[in-house]
């Protein structure tokens, strides 16, 4: 056969798909590249680390090798008081840096440049670890948030910073976001108040620069539950969060949220084994009306998954 229909057809199909990909992939990439990161974007990137979800550093997706966010009220080196307390992101030696640090262009042309020149971000190495913070500076009459490398600027080491913060002011944000991803919270909750009437209840929709360096964004598509992008602004009670995670029906009788009692793990804060069966029996009695108060929920251990999850909610979702 001289005329091969499938050859002409294949060329036409390839050409059309190529054109479509130029319009829908290449053109938007120019817009995305020019987006300057906001404070929210820098905060998310620095507190999440390189990748949430499956990665070399965290193959079992348990939140291993993630940066730790701390709230500092005193200088880790000099011991001077810091008022108001500041937020810092501690990368212990070997923890992979956030995309914002690895690829300064990711944070936008101006912000990336500012972080390198003023913030000394380029001097940090993963082998030695580093402490980062977000500062504000002026370029051409406009204020920009940029990343500061406090290890280079102030000599703060990761170990000193963690010690100065103590457990009380340590927030396992990266690990908490990992729990959010693995437990599939995002199948029902969204992180995207819509640009319609939505924002009157759920708060302001995110802006263009709020996502730079975030992976995965996971803002959800199927809302079976309230949007939680700003949930900590509406409700900042850790006690309420704890009860709600253990059994949502304790604080909201009509909720259809699953129980996340298994995030407590085996051992409670005092090193005792958690007796879930006893709790369930007592809860059944409470539901049946033979008991006046519901049983107390166990206190979770400092390294439990639920602690990290609540840390993330109360720190990042404001």
């Amino acid at each position: 056969m001289a005329f091969q229909q499938h050859k002409l057809g294949a060329a036409a199909i390839g050409g059309m798909l190529g054109l479509s990909m130029i319009i829908t992939l290449m053109f938007p990439s120019f817009d995305f590249r020019s987006a300057e990161s906001t404070w929210v974007g820098l905060d998310k990137s620095l507190s999440n680390g390189r990748v949430i979800g499956f990665s070399y550093e965290d193959p079992l997706v348990i939140g291993a090798n993630k940066p730790i966010t701390v709230i500092l009220d005193k200088d880790p080196k000099t011991g001077e008081k810091i008022d108001p307390p500041m937020r810092a992101y501690v990368y212990e030696p070997g923890v992979p840096f956030a995309p914002a640090v690895r690829h300064p262009a990711n944070t936008g042309p101006t912000v990336g440049q500012l972080s390198l020149s003023v913030g000394k971000m380029g001097e940090a190495t993963e082998a030695e670890g580093a402490v980062f913070a977000i500062n504000r500076g002026e370029v051409n009459g406009k204020d920009w948030d940029y990343i500061e490398n406090l290890t280079a600027l102030k000599g703060w080491t990761p170990a000193d910073t963690l010690r100065a913060a103590t457990d009380e002011n340590t927030r396992y944000v990266g690990k908490g976001k990992t729990v959010y991803i693995t437990e599939g919270c995002w199948w029902c909750h969204t992180l995207l108040p819509e640009q319609t009437q939505d924002w009157q209840i759920f708060g302001a929709p995110p802006m263009l620069g709020d996502f730079n360096g975030e992976m995965p964004t996971a803002f959800g598509s199927d809302r079976k539950a309230p949007d939680i992008l700003h949930v900590a602004s509406r409700n900042s009670s850790r006690e309420w969060m704890d009860m709600h995670f253990f059994n949502p029906r304790l604080v909201q009788p009509n909720s259809i949220m699953p129980r996340f009692d298994y995030l407590w793990g085996e051992i409670d804060a005092h090193g005792n084994k958690i007796d879930f069966d006893k709790w369930r029996t007592e809860y059944k009695e409470y539901r049946a009306g033979t008991r006046i108060y519901p049983p107390e929920i166990p206190e979770y251990a400092g390294n439990s998954e639920v602690r990290a999850l609540v840390d993330w909610i109360l720190t990042s979702l404001k």
Binding site: L17, E183, G184, F211, S221, Y262
Partner: protein, 469 residues
């Protein structure tokens, strides 16, 4: 079993073996997928049912349901039909039966591994791209590329002058899914972040539907309806209008899934306009198939394969009417992220697409096995359970979505929306369970067909013969 042919010589493998392997695998995954769907729906209606373990947590199972149905049932049913329709339409044999068998085998292995890891919570956290990238690479080379090579080589070695419309779709759509899969998974491989990642996730999600699931399902109908009725396709030209307009218009509207995200406004407007143009291929397809039925409408009642096929085509009408308009800004703001979208997604996958595939699997397995369907009564049971179950699901979720949309714009406290949706969540579970029950019966019916169905004599079609049971 067919496993024994994996190491046989290609010439020694009976024609159609890979199709049978794919066919039974697809039905099996359909039973698994709908069973998980039913279980998940029960958890939404009754949250305190089965708790205390992450293995039975909704968040661990939802994505397993979605991907078992898309990659297990729908895509394997596509592969099954490609393995027998492509050679039949080219008047030739499948390029390599052995490659087809290995393809089916690796597909089952790869999907099992990927879904097991997802169930354990080992995920990339990207909707529809949840499977982690090492498994993605395995899917690329063990599943998609072998399928593509087999289809393309069979078309290239055809013994007909022209290429029938079904084969145009098959050849092009396998190419699309390979490109779309590679591009869609690239954020995980190259650590692309931020809005780029979000956009690429939905670029993939959209194009899997637009360039794989709906066009291949339509291509299947272009084969089954003329074959079953004996009428030639009403118009090959309208078929080509469908084919080329799908490529031109439906490869572009990905960002209409993210109308409320801070994407560039020009991109959203462009996507919205292109999205409405889905009506061109949709009308071309539905009209073409329904006009092909001319003079044979009694088969819609009397013949089980035609019944499934035409139901699927008819469901394409509300599907595309919703699909074309719900993504415009005028409507999207109301229904975005609500149960309406869930209903629409099930209309596409469980409604239109699944009905067309079920017909092709019924037809193909009977032809290849040379066995008449075991029981018409069970097949009718299957049809009505899937159809009624689907309708209950679709209607209840559409109503739930409208309630949710109203709650959104009138600023109703969210918990009141949850309470209002509760009856519809129960209805959703009932509908999903009916679909699952129907599929269990189908699996039994096809198994018995392979074992005990009446033998179809050479040169005859199974659907020409009378049922003996």
């Amino acid at each position: 079993m067919l496993i024994k042919y994996l190491f046989a010589k290609n010439e020694d493998i009976p024609a159609g073996s890979s199709s049978v392997f794919f066919g039974f695998s697809a039905i099996f995954w359909f039973v698994i997928g709908t069973g998980l769907g039913s279980f998940n729906a029960a958890k939404l209606a009754f949250p305190d049912w089965v708790t205390g373990s992450e293995m039975f947590a909704f968040g661990h199972m939802r994505q397993v349901h979605v991907l078992a149905v898309i990659l297990g049932w729908i895509s394997m049913a596509f592969a099954m039909t490609m393995m027998y329709m492509t050679p039949a339409l080219g008047n030739t044999k499948l390029w390599s039966e052995k490659l087809g068998l290995w393809n089916a085998f690796l597909w089952n292995v790869g999907l099992s591994v990927g879904l097991f890891l997802l169930w354990m919570g080992i995920t990339s956290g990207r909707e529809y791209s949840d499977i982690i990238w090492p498994v993605d690479i395995a899917i690329m080379f063990g599943v998609l590329l072998p399928l593509g090579i087999n289809v393309w080589m069979t078309i290239a070695h055809r013994r007909t002058q022209g290429i029938y419309i079904t084969n145009w779709f098959f050849g092009a759509c396998v190419f699309f899914i390979i490109v779309v899969f590679a591009v869609g998974q690239s954020p995980e491989l190259f650590n692309l972040t931020g809005l780029t990642e979000a956009y690429m996730t939905f670029w993939f999600a959209h194009n899997v539907l637009g360039l794989w699931i709906t066009p291949v399902a339509a291509a299947i109908a272009y084969y089954t309806i003329p074959k079953l009725t004996g009428n030639p396709l009403y118009s090959h030209r309208i078929g080509h209008l469908h084919f080329w307009s799908i490529i031109a218009f439906y490869s572009t509207p990905a960002s209409h899934h993210l109308m409320s995200a801070p994407l560039p406004e020009w991109l959203k407007s462009f996507a919205s306009v292109e999205g409405v143009l889905i009506l061109i291929p949709a009308v071309a397809f539905v009209a073409n198939i329904l006009l092909t039925m001319k003079g044979k409408w009694s088969m819609f009642v009397e013949n089980i394969e035609t019944k499934f096929s035409i139901t699927g085509v008819l469901l394409a009408i509300p599907l595309n009417m919703q699909g074309g308009f719900q993504q415009t800004r005028a409507i999207n703001w109301y229904i975005h992220g609500t149960g309406w979208i869930v209903a629409h997604a099930h209309l596409a996958l469980l409604g239109m697409s699944t009905f067309l595939e079920i017909a092709a699997v019924y037809f193909g397995l009977q032809q290849i096995l040379r066995r008449k369907l075991y029981s018409l009564a069970l097949a009718n049971f299957h049809y009505w359970f899937v159809l009624i179950g689907f309708c209950i699901y679709w209607i209840s979720m559409t109503i739930a979505g409208l309630i949710q949309g109203a709650g959104k714009i009138y600023e109703v406290p969210y918990i009141d929306v949850v309470v209002a949706e509760h009856p519809y969540m129960i209805a959703r579970w009932v509908g999903g369970t009916m679909v699952f029950t129907g599929n269990l019966v189908w699996l039994y019916n096809m198994y018995m067909t392979a074992r005990e169905g009446t033998v179809v004599p050479a040169g005859r079609y199974a659907h020409e013969m009378a049922y003996e049971r």
